[in-house]
């Protein structure tokens, strides 16, 4: 079965790839992912905020007590090799590149314009094949408009495009007033792909301690539904690669994603749950499903269920519950 696809300009044998996650932090796992047939690898995210905070924390931890007390002018060994900043990440890109042959997509989450640009440049130099910009910004200020927020994103993407020649995808959150408009602007800004969607740490509340706790629940197939809707809406309208991220756990989930227009299918939770080899199971399951349902190729079904081709587009456009209610008792 021909499962081939094109994602961010890369001709891939199939659309399945591990999404941004800690999986790529360990080279043995990286190898297992490739052995399981990963079409591409999305690396874990480089977080500018984390890097800056660690630099400052390390400076404070090491320097503040130094040169203060006669018996101890320092408290840590001086290690030339102890480098903060993005080195660890960049080194990992190089190492991953050395041991795999599939495209390696780095992931970046910046905070400042300087950060986005500097790291995008360094990631490119480290040899990544593509860059996924992990745009994670939660608007909390009543005075910041949606327009301003989107403008800032577009400006950032444009700047990044200027410093890197590798394909750029943008991983979005679902929290935009008009996702298609933003998608169109991003396409116009030159991005080659959109990834739907980011999954965030969800704040929970400890009612006894009156504390906010952060949890990251692994996804399940129910998370896919939100993505299917927006894939279906964007597919065919925005001329960039689309990838699904979040909620693909079975071969049928992957089939649904492709039917709603995905060029790439990112999987994380399923791999964390069941190991890198799950990629292979998914790929084989997909192939089997296509064969059983007499598809000639994956390409044949891509976008078959998107907004323009779906037999019932209003199901995507309307709020689902209204539809069901209307049909109740019919």
């Amino acid at each position: 079965m021909d499962l081939s696809t094109t994602y961010l300009g890369f001709k891939l044998p199939h659309p399945l790839m591990p999404g941004a996650s800690p999986l790529t932090g360990d080279l043995d796992t990286v190898k297992r992912l490739e052995d399981a047939g990963a079409a591409a690898l999305v690396m874990n995210s480089l977080f500018e905020e984390q890097i800056v905070l660690e630099e400052l924390a390390a400076r404070d931890a090491m320097e503040t007590p130094a040169d203060s007390f006669a018996e101890a002018l320092s408290y840590f060994p001086k290690l030339e090799e102890y480098r903060l900043g993005p080195d660890e990440y960049l080194r990992q890109i190089r190492k991953v590149k050395e041991i795999v042959s599939c495209p390696v997509i780095a992931s970046l989450n910046g905070v400042t314009t300087g950060g986005w640009l500097q790291y995008a440049r360094q990631i490119t130099e480290a040899g990544a094949d593509a860059l996924e910009l992990n745009v994670y910004y939660l608007a909390t200020s009543p005075t910041e408009t949606a327009q301003a927020l989107e403008d800032r994103t577009i400006e950032m993407v444009k700047s990044v495009k200027q410093v890197t020649h590798i394909p750029v995808a943008v991983k979005l959150s679902p929290f935009y007033s008009s996702l298609p408009s933003l998608a169109a602007r991003l396409a116009e800004a030159g991005v080659q792909g959109l990834v739907l969607f980011n999954r965030f740490y969800q704040p929970d509340i400890d009612v006894n301690e009156l504390e906010v706790t952060r949890t990251l629940e692994l996804s399940d197939s129910r998370d896919l539904l939100l993505r299917l809707r927006w894939l279906a809406i964007l597919s065919g309208k925005i001329d960039v690669s689309l990838a699904v991220s979040g909620g693909v756990h079975t071969a049928v989930d992957a089939v649904k994603a492709v039917m709603t227009g995905a060029h790439g299918v990112q999987v994380v939770s399923a791999l964390l749950d069941n190991g890198p080899e799950t990629l292979k199971t998914l790929r084989e399951g997909m192939a089997r499903w296509l064969e059983e349902h007499k598809y000639a190729s994956l390409e044949q079904m891509r976008g078959s269920m998107n907004l323009s081709r779906s037999p019932d587009p209003s199901a995507y456009e309307r709020a689902n519950y209204a539809h069901i209610l209307q049909g109740w008792g019919r």
Partner: protein, 1192 residues
């Protein structure tokens, strides 16, 4: 040959640089002030830096100096070129091995940062008492006087010992040379290769023990042979000084720096000559240059090779015109004819005369007097040298004099003219007052490097540090000038004075250092137009009188704007260069930026950028202040201590606090090192920016804040409501919430001027406002506006009587905190993880505790002057404390127990004999008293009081004897305290023996998992995967399980506690340990700045350590075994999180991951596995019931 570089480094680095390049094996143990030599050597080897023969020296940390010396001995015997670095007590521990090494004629050069030996007190500073304790070992003793010489003599010593086979101890004063930063010419590898003779190295190898050419050494000899065999080595000692002389000559030809066994300098026809060795000679040289230029016939002999003492070379070095000699010793040898160098000189002159080596006959032979100077880095400056020459000019100069102090007891001291100075006008002399945490010292070290390496100027930097760790003040003394700088003394006439902390103006006489016309740079939160009105009167007076050029900058504002937090180092450095004009401004700024890039480049672009931004905006904030014509201030500096302080505190402590302790005469001090308790309370340090403010409506009165407070600066009291009638208006109180003291009032009060602002109290506080959980029962607010009112409130609070100890549930967290802390306001780091345990001990048992304290952080914050934290209760009782040494503390504390047990035994004997006279019932009650709780103790105190009353009225000798011992009938609590360096390493042998003895002692190990006090060297308590000095790549072996080892005896109470994780278990363990009538060992997790994170997270990290299984909480109580229960109880459950979650929060682990992620991953897996194995073992043991003893 490669060109020699000019470098700016300190004496330790200068020495280690040569030692590392000319040796193969280095075995060390950390001790101040030598530690950094070993650390540098380790660092260089870790970076694969090779020695001159192309191989990387192996650097090994041992468990003690005794261990290091033995390892050195072994390595030498096995043929390796070997060295070590040590000082003071460490050197003493090496002496047994040194005899062996010398007896076996071993080529070996060791390097000693000469430091005071502990006598009536410990001191980390420099003198020759340690080295002088080695003059009988057979080692050659070679002295250096400066950083350059330390570098050179390290080479000369190594080269000479290869030839002479007499082992050599190269020494130089701690701090004055080890820590002075100076510009020197570096010896190249070629230089070193030129000096080290390959044939001699081959001979050293040939002498090695090897089974391929076996020999036997170290035999036991008998009267038949020992004496003769001992004399057989004599020719080598006879030849030694000649060999050193030859090597010095060869070195002189190579480098142009000429040294001799004895170096004379001064007037060619000098009549008055002083003799000394070490850094004092530099100050003396400066004085002599000055005096000879004024036609004074004075001179000096520097002793370079002190052992073997070459009499001929010595007398030859003296000018024939010499009439009088003052021999200066930097050590005190009680009871001797004189101090050692003096005795040697007198003997040498006599012997030289007898041998006919001098031109003098017996009558014209120069008079010799001896004098003592510079003990424990006491200042020795040209004015003192002048004083000695003045004394020598007298007909009968004083013998056995002292100089540099005022001895008003035995009147040994010489008067010194404070106005005499030899400082040259073309030398820039700058003094900087800073906080340790603001980076002043680091910036100054940077400046010296810039000036030393970028200009033709010579540079010198010397740094004076605080005795406190929290809010530590630093004073930097920097000199720059066109000639090599010989001024081995502090600057007291500065032409640049910088005060980096505005508050210092209230505490110290900063401007006493300034000469007329000097520049004064002040960091203050006031602009150039307002600053004048905020200055204390004394400061204004000096600015006006000395016509100082006054500059001000709001450095913290600049730092804030550049997001630099409280780091004002580069800002103030920029100001210094801008004003001082040492370098053109632009050039200076470019150099500062280069230095920033070099320092922080690898540690983060963000830090570099922020520093750059700070430097760039500094100058626009720097203002020259227009000084009014006269003094306008009405307020002066506040008194150093409160007027109600005891006389001793006012007359002695306060003077030391003002940084003027040098002016105190001998009579001000006790004769045996005894000091009063409770002096920290008089030192109001006001170092907290923010202090906790109590919200009574939210508070649940759990007292957790008080328990965790490292400084006893937040305290609860429960008291009668009527006491509130005199309360100050802002004094807060609440109804006491629990049943035990129903109807009473509760107050939680902060000590505003003693709090360090660590915020642990607010962090640990569990009480939140239900409607607005952001609001807790403790909220941090700026200290300044609260200082006055809270001071008044705290005074009132202290006046409220403590609740009756017998009514308090002391075994609970809450109850324990109602007991008065008898350990308060120590100088420990803000947020210290150790002191809460010490404070708890003092609350529970302090009124009857004897504490033996191992050297380390706990002895420093526990007993470092000028003020000490142990204190007394209203009855005048409190912990009595002593620090013997580092290695012997368990045995020392055991000695307390032995004495007390004997006292009790005798008291019992006497009591039984006196039964008829004092009352049989009383005797019976006293002997049968149950003293397991506070009620029992109080009852016994009453009985003993009654007994003493009766005894006082009884005239018998037995009664008088019992009267002296009666107080021991009240249970005493012996505590042995120390860190993991003591318990796991250097003191382990003693600890093991003491817990095996079965005596009733309590050992508290404050486990920071690293040598904290000496700066983060690995100990056997360091956990697997942590980076520490000497384990920089991450420790590969697991932490030693000291608790398990102790449990092995079956007779030791053992507890592992972590207050931040489970405070109730901690308190319970303390009470149980103390009540156990045998040895008890508490191992207490103590978070530490050496772990590398903001200590506000200390409790959280403790909890994570427990939750991940690395720190299993447990208690092993042999009493439970006797009751048929498992003796071990686990107080923490199965691990619930991976160890990585704990480790990744701390720099010590994170460094390993950053440097080598793969290795870290492996270590992590190993750590996880060790944790699993240990937990399984503990779990198994916790279920184990031991067979009961069979009854007969």
């Amino acid at each position: 040959m490669a060109k020699r570089r000019v470098i700016t480094i300190d004496g330790n680095e200068a020495t280690a640089s040569v030692a590392h390049r000319t040796n193969e094996v280095i075995a060390i143990y950390p001790i101040t002030p030598s530690s950094s030599m070993g650390e540098l050597a380790d660092e260089w080897s870790a970076h694969l830096r090779k020695n001159i023969w192309g191989t990387v020296p192996q650097v090994t940390e041992m468990q003690s100096e005794g261990g290091a010396a033995a390892a050195v001995h072994g390595a030498l015997q096995a043929g390796a070129l070997t060295t070590t670095f040590t000082a003071s007590q460490g050197l003493l521990l090496m002496i047994p091995s040194m005899y062996k090494i010398a007896g076996e004629l071993t080529s070996y050069c060791m390097h000693v940062s000469a430091r005071t030996l502990a006598t009536h007190a410990l001191s980390i500073f420099g003198d020759h008492s340690d080295v002088m304790a080695c003059r009988q070992t057979g080692f050659a003793l070679l002295a250096s006087c400066s950083v350059q010489e330390a570098h050179d003599m390290a080479c000369i010593g190594q080269a000479a010992t290869l030839k002479s086979r007499v082992p050599l101890l190269h020494f130089f004063e701690g701090f004055r040379i080890t820590h002075e930063v100076a510009k020197i010419e570096e010896l190249t590898d070629d230089d070193l290769r030129h000096m080290m003779d390959d044939a001699l190295i081959a001979a050293h190898r040939q002498r090695a023990l090897t089974p391929d050419r076996p020999v036997i050494r170290g035999t036991a000899q008998n009267p038949n042979e020992f004496f003769q065999a001992r004399e057989a080595c004599s020719p080598f000692f006879d030849a030694c000084s000649g060999i050193v002389k030859d090597v010095m000559d060869r070195f002189g030809k190579l480098t142009g720096r000429h040294y001799h066994l004895f170096d004379y300098e001064g007037h060619p026809q000098a009549e008055r000559v002083i003799m000394l060795m070490g850094s004092g000679a530099e100050a003396a040289a400066e004085a002599i240059t000055y005096l000879t230029a004024r036609d004074e016939r004075v001179g000096m002999v520097r002793v370079r090779l002190y052992r073997p003492f070459d009499v001929r070379a010595f007398v030859d070095s003296l000018p024939k015109t010499t009439r009088k000699i003052a021999v200066l010793d930097r050590t005190k040898e009680g009871g001797a004819v004189g101090d050692p160098l003096y005795v040697d000189v007198v003997t040498a002159l006599r012997e030289a005369h007898d041998q006919g080596w001098t031109q003098w006959d017996r009558e014209s032979c120069p008079d010799v007097v001896g004098g003592r100077y510079g003990l424990s880095s006491k200042e020795f400056n040209p004015a003192m040298v002048k004083a000695i020459f003045d004394e020598l000019a007298k007909d009968k100069p004083k013998n056995h004099f002292t100089v540099g102090i005022e001895d008003d007891v035995t009147h040994s001291s010489l008067p010194v003219d404070p106005d005499f100075s030899t400082e040259a006008d073309d030398v820039v002399r700058a003094v900087f007052f800073g906080l340790g945490a603001d980076g002043t010292v680091g910036a100054n070290k940077n400046s010296i490097k810039i000036i030393g390496e970028e200009t033709d100027n010579y540079a010198q930097g010397y740094f004076v540090y605080d005795s406190k760790k929290a809010g530590a003040i630093t004073i930097s003394h920097l000199r720059f000038g066109p000639r090599p700088i010989q001024s081995t003394y502090l600057i007291d006439r500065a032409n640049f004075v910088a005060c980096h902390q505005f508050l210092f103006l209230e505490k110290y006489d900063v401007l006493e250092y300034a000469v007329p016309g000097a520049v004064f740079l002040l960091n203050a939160p006031f602009g150039p137009d307002e600053i004048w009105d905020h200055l204390p009167r004394e400061v204004q007076e000096q600015i006006v009188a000395k016509e100082l050029k006054f500059y001000v900058i709001d450095g913290y504002k600049v730092a804030r704007e550049a997001h630099m937090g409280s780091r004002i180092n580069t800002i103030m450095q920029t100001c210094f260069f801008a004003i001082s004009g040492v370098l053109p401004r632009d050039e200076a700024i470019a150099k500062i930026k280069q230095a920033i890039e070099k320092t922080y480049g690898k540690k983060g672009a963000e830090v570099v950028q922020r520093n750059f931004a700070a430097v760039d905006t500094t100058l626009e904030h720097l203002h020259k202040v227009k000084v009014p014509g006269g003094v306008t201030a009405t307020k002066g500096r506040p008194p150093t201590v409160a007027p109600e302080a005891p006389d001793f505190v006012k007359n002695v402590t306060a003077v030391i606090l003002q940084n003027k302790g040098h002016s105190l005469p001998v009579s001000a001090f006790s004769v045996d090192g005894t000091w009063p308790l409770g002096t920290t309370k008089w030192e109001k340090r006001n170092i907290a920016q923010e202090i906790p403010v109590w919200e009574p409506d939210i508070c649940i009165q759990c007292n957790k804040c008080s328990l965790i407070c490292p400084h006893a600066a937040i305290r609860p009291k429960v008291y009668d409501p009527t006491l509130l009638k005199d309360a100050p208006p802002t004094f807060k109180s609440a109804d006491y919430k629990a049943a035990d003291f129903k109807g009473m009032k509760f107050t939680l009060q902060v000590a505003p001027e003693d709090c360090t602002g660590c915020a642990l109290c607010a962090e640990i506080c569990p009480a939140k406002d239900k409607a607005n959980p952001k609001r807790r029962a403790l909220m941090l607010k700026p200290q300044m506006p609260l200082r006055e009112t809270e001071r008044e409130n705290y005074d009132f609070f202290l006046g409220i009587p403590d609740i009756d100890r017998t009514k308090v549930k002391r075994e609970t967290v809450k109850g324990s905190q109602f007991l008065q802390p008898l350990f308060e306001y120590s100088g420990a780091c803000a947020g210290c993880g150790e002191t809460p345990y010490v404070k708890l001990l003092s609350q529970l048992f302090g009124d009857r505790a004897l504490i033996a304290n191992a050297t380390g952080c706990s002895s420093i914050y526990g007993g470092n002057l000028p003020t000490t934290p142990y204190t007394t209760n209203r009855e005048g009782r409190g912990p009595t404390w002593n620090n013997s040494l580092f290695e012997d503390t368990a045995e020392f504390g055991c000695g307390f127990r032995l004495a007390i047990d004997k006292h009790i035994e005798q008291a019992h004997e006497l009591l039984q004999g006196l039964g008829g006279k004092v009352g049989d019932e009383l005797v019976r009650e006293i002997l049968a008293a149950d003293q397991t709780d506070e009620v029992g103790i109080a009852a016994q105190r009453e009985r003993v009081a009654a007994l003493k009353e009766k005894l006082a009225g009884n005239g018998s000798a037995e009664a008088a004897r019992l009267l002296l011992l009666a107080d021991y009938l009240v249970k005493k609590s012996v505590w042995i305290l120390g860190g993991d360096g003591w318990a796991y390493d250097i003191g382990y042998g003693g600890l093991d023996h003491v817990i095996a003895m079965g005596r009733d002692v309590n050992l508290l190990v404050l486990d920071t998992e690293v040598y904290s006090n000496t700066g983060g060297q690995a100990s056997k308590a360091t956990p697997l995967g942590a980076s520490a000095k000497f384990a920089s790549a991450g420790k590969a072996s697991p932490k030693k399980d000291l608790g398990m080892m102790a449990m092995n005896y079956g007779t030791v109470y053992v507890a592992r506690v972590a207050m931040g994780a489970k405070d109730a278990q901690t308190v319970r363990a303390f009470v149980e340990a103390e009540s156990y009538p045998g040895p008890s060992l508490i191992i207490a997790y103590s978070h530490c700045i050496a772990h590398g994170y903001d200590l506000i997270n200390g409790p959280r990290q403790q909890k994570l350590a427990v939750d991940c299984g690395l720190w299993t909480l447990c208690r092993y109580d042999p009493r439970r075994a006797a009751k048929g229960k498992p003796p071990l109880v686990l107080d923490s459950g199965e691990p619930t999180i991976p160890v990585a979650e704990y480790m990744r929060n701390e720099t010590r682990f994170r460094m390993v991951e950053k440097v080598d992620p793969k290795r870290f991953q492996q270590l992590l897996l190993k750590a996880q596995q060790v944790e699993r194995e240990r937990y399984a073992l503990y779990q198994h043991l916790a279920g184990l019931t031991l067979p009961q003893a069979e009854e007969n």
